[in-house]
Symmetry: C2
Subunit: 167 residues, 2 copies
């Protein structure tokens, strides 16, 4: 449709749609509480050790989340000092796996894609980043199968704190 809506609005629409389809009787106040939870997700236990192990390497977030969601999630966990950039797909009003979003990483970090290790736990995101040209690490926490999308991650780890060893 090419009608961009930001990730906060899409998340709320998806929540309301799921509640309706499952015939769950949820009040607006309850839905609002669930939405607020998206602003303060808990960090995975391996996140901080992973970030510490990467000290000295410029780190950036490149996410489909809206700027408010990303900033809130990072601040809630006290992780803001780790990141040089927090980049939302909102800047180009479309979503990964569009190459326009992946291009934000190279443009803003001012580095070629081949010099950036792009890490994601979503295999479709790993494939999209690889198609764009990044070096790619897939964090396969759930030990699932990589989706067959024509592009494979360069390296697969099971936990975030294994990423530093890939550099």
């Amino acid at each position: 449709m090419e009608r961009y809506e930001d990730f906060w609005d899409i998340t709320e629409a998806a929540l309301r749609s799921a509640v309706m389809q499952l015939k769950i009787d949820a009040s607006d106040a309850q839905l609002d509480r669930l939405m607020q939870a998206y602003l303060c997700p808990s960090e995975f236990l391996d996140a901080r050790p992973a970030l510490d192990a990467l000290k000295g390497v410029p780190l950036a977030i490149l996410s489909n989340g809206s700027p408010r969601m990303l900033e809130s999630a990072v601040r809630h966990n006290g992780l803001e000092h780790y990141f040089a950039e927090i980049i939302s797909a909102d800047r180009v009003k479309t979503y990964k796996p569009s190459p326009r979003v992946y291009a934000l990483g190279t443009e803003i970090l001012n580095l070629p894609a081949s010099e950036i290790l792009f890490s994601s736990s979503n295999s479709w995101d790993a494939a999209g980043a690889k198609a764009f040209g990044y070096k790619v690490c897939w964090c396969n926490r759930s030990q699932g199968q990589m989706e067959h999308l024509g592009f494979l991650a360069d390296v697969t780890v099971l936990r975030l704190d294994q990423i530093a060893a890939c550099l």
Copy 2:
């Protein structure tokens, strides 16, 4: 990713992915038989009466299916004489709900979108067609809820043979 693959290849990749994820032990010969079934789907019982009721109105198919899949499905059911055009998204190498695909209908029929009744049983397709500008009929066979995508069909029917009455 913006890497077009035709619908036949995507269908086969999706089938193989589903089989793998569900750990089904299927031979290549079995998968091939399932794929062949996509070339000869059975018509819905209301399809022919619906097409007969629309005689005199130029009819076209606009589908994400590959040209071979569409032609085979129509021919298998002996419906080819009903259609002025069989248009595949393959012509523009992307898929609905991209407006580039919906534009094929207006370009090839040489009519403004507002003079074409676009009918679909997929509510995302009905919403995408409405966003493009068509008059839209949603054939809601399963009596489900229209997805909340910001655009509603102009009219909803439960069976194809109710479409003619919408003109």
